[in-house]
Structure formats: C-alpha cells, structure tokens
C-alpha cells in the first residue's frame, strides 16, 4: 500500500468521525418546542414592616413559585428536560406534586421525559419547575426569563409570563 493511499484512507475515516460527532448538534434543536408557559405569582420577602408587626426572629428568605408549560417533541427520539434555571430564583428545580390518600407532597425529579412525536404537560397539581427562593416579587403581568436544558436539544431560552391560574 502506498503512503499516499493510506493518508487518503486516514483522512476519510477522520471525516466520518467528525460527521458522526457533530450529527446530534445539528439534528436536535428543532425537535423540541415549548408552549403556553406561565408562572405563578410569588413574593420575595415580606414588606419591611415597622413596630411589633415584624418579629425579629422572622426569616426573610424568599418565597417560591412554579412554572408550567407544554413540551412538544417533533423528533423521532425521546428527549428529556434535565435542568432549569432563572435569574429570579436562587434555585430552579424539576418537581412533581401529588396527593396520595389526601396527603399532598412534593418531590424533586431528576428529569422529565418528552416522548418522540409526543408531548408532556407541566401543570398545576403535577409536574412543574419550582422556583425556589425568589429574589424578586413575581406580579401578574411580569415577564421572567427561563432557561431549560434538554439531554438532546441542549439549552433553550424562553420568556414566561406571570399569570393567575387559568380557570
């Protein structure tokens, strides 16, 4: 085998490796879409109150809120929401609420799957992004930034409106 021929083979292999490596990057982004995003109103801290109203021992950490939306996956592979973050909260976590035997509880989940060609709804009483420790009040009509990270689709940014629950 000539040296020239082996060099050609090597570059062909390298090109193939490169194509495989970048494939998920260009195949994924269009697959996930986010619809009907909204957040609940919430408060950061109590208004500074004078006199006896405010106990000196009162903790002044921020309140919490929840964000809901519908995730749609137009792709042919399942994707997973793996993290969320927003500058308005100390922490943003993926959560699920449930009522079992009349007892309400809530726990963090590691991810939220979105089936291929399907959708997953985050809604009151179930899956939601919990905004923990609000740094600012969230009032009806406010718009807040939210970043979502998916296993395949990567990072997506959106603006979420603060609303009262749809009745």
């Amino acid at each position: 085998m000539s040296k020239r021929k082996s060099q050609f083979r090597l570059s062909a292999v390298l090109m193939l490796v490169a194509v495989i490596a970048i494939a998920p990057a260009w195949a994924a982004p269009a697959a996930i879409s986010i619809e009907n995003a909204w957040a609940r109103p919430g408060i950061a801290t109590a208004a500074p109150a004078g006199g006896a109203m405010q106990s000196s021992a009162a903790p002044m950490k921020g309140g919490n809120s929840a964000v809901y939306f519908i995730l749609k996956n137009a792709g042919t592979t399942e994707d997973r929401l793996i993290a969320a973050s927003s500058p308005v909260a100390t922490k943003s976590e993926l959560h699920i609420s449930r009522i079992e035997n009349g007892v309400a509880s809530m726990r963090a989940v590691p991810d939220i799957a979105v089936p291929a060609g399907g959708s997953t709804e985050l809604k009151p009483g179930g899956l939601h992004v919990m905004l923990v420790g609000l740094k600012q009040d969230l009032k009806v009509g406010d718009r807040i930034p939210l970043e979502l990270r998916f296993a395949r689709a990567g990072v997506m940014q959106l603006t979420v409106e603060v609303k009262m629950m749809k009745q």
Binding site: R40, Q54, G63, S97, I99, M165
Partner: protein, 190 residues
C-alpha cells in the same frame, strides 16, 4: 297528654319525611365543635372562632411556600365562593398556615394581595395551630430535602373542610378540584 303525643308523632313523621341531604363531601357522623383557641390572623389580631359563626366556612391548611398544590386549592376555593354569586358574602374562607415560622402576618398580608384579600389566615401561634389541626384531623409533617434553598417543605392534608353556621365541622372534601360539588354542599348549609 294525648295532645302531646300527637304532636310528637307528627314531629316524628315530619322528620322521617324530610329527605336526607345527599352530601358530596364526606359527612362527619358527629360534627366537631372546635374549642375556643387563641388564634391570630394575618392582621396580627386575635381571631375568635365564635365570631365567624353565622358564616359557612371553607377551611384549608397549607403554607405559602408551597408553590403548586396550595395555590391550586386556594384557587378552587376562591372560585367556589365566586360561584355562590350574591350569597358569597355569607361564606368565609379560613386558611391555616402550617408554617407560621415563615408565614409571618406581614408575609401573609403580602402573599394574600396576590390571591385574595378576603381570605382569613390563621398564623403566628404554632401551638394553637397544632391544636386546631388536631381538631380537624389534619396531619402535617415537615420534610427536609436536598437542594431546596429554603430548607424544608411539608407533607400535609390537602382537604377542604366545610364548617356550618354554628361553627361545627361538617364535611370533608378530599378532592378540591370538583368545584361544583363543594358549591352544592355549601349551598345546603347557607
């Protein structure tokens, strides 16, 4: 004597003929009368259970840092009151915070401004809240969990309790989602 007997018989007959109310919620076999407690509301003022008599009450236990289930339940309760139309002012909503440590009166006042200023919130006195929870048969448990910047959350009974105009706990609605069912029961008690 015979007159008394016939009256008594007529009375029994009337009672027997009265159609029993088909409650939607779980009716307590023996209505509970909460004892007088030293409760405090969001205005940081004494709240007397007796002063709420003459109103039908919807009572729910929760905490303001509960981001999902509690505002959902409060939203349902608010709509149940709204659905009563011109009779809405004969109903009181009492929300008992199980987290008075963080749900200070000042904090609650600000929180309520987002939801409904007419709600009455029982707060501040942990021991009295515990007693009230016991009377209602409400269980709650503080749970610490990883990653929560706030440190703790609660597992708690999510039911709506309907209290009649004499202050007796009469009905339990475990499912707050079915608005019409709560409204029907409240109407019977007005």
């Amino acid at each position: 004597m015979s007159r008394f007997l016939s009256l008594a018989l007529a009375g029994t007959f009337l009672v027997a003929c009265q159609k029993p109310i088909a409650w939607n919620g779980q009716a307590l076999a023996k209505p509970i009368q909460p004892p007088e407690l030293a409760l405090v509301d969001q205005k940081d003022e004494t709240l007397r259970w007796q002063n709420l008599h003459d109103k039908v009450m919807q009572v729910n236990f929760g905490y303001s840092r509960c981001p999902d289930i509690c505002p959902l339940a409060l939203g349902h309760i608010k709509n149940a009151v709204k659905a009563l139309g011109d009779k809405a002012d004969r109903v009181a909503v009492v929300w008992v915070t199980i987290d008075p440590e963080r749900d200070t009166p000042a904090y609650i006042r600000k929180y309520l401004a987002l939801l409904d200023d007419r709600f009455i919130v029982v707060t501040r006195e942990v021991t009295e809240i515990d007693k009230l929870a016991k009377v209602f048969g409400v269980h709650y448990k503080r749970v610490l969990y990883d990653g929560n910047a706030d440190g703790y959350a609660f597992q708690h009974s999510a039911a709506v309790y309907v209290v009649d105009r004499r202050g007796h706990v009469r009905l339990i609605h475990g499912d707050t989602g079915d608005l019409q069912k709560i409204v029907e029961d409240v109407r019977h008690l007005l």
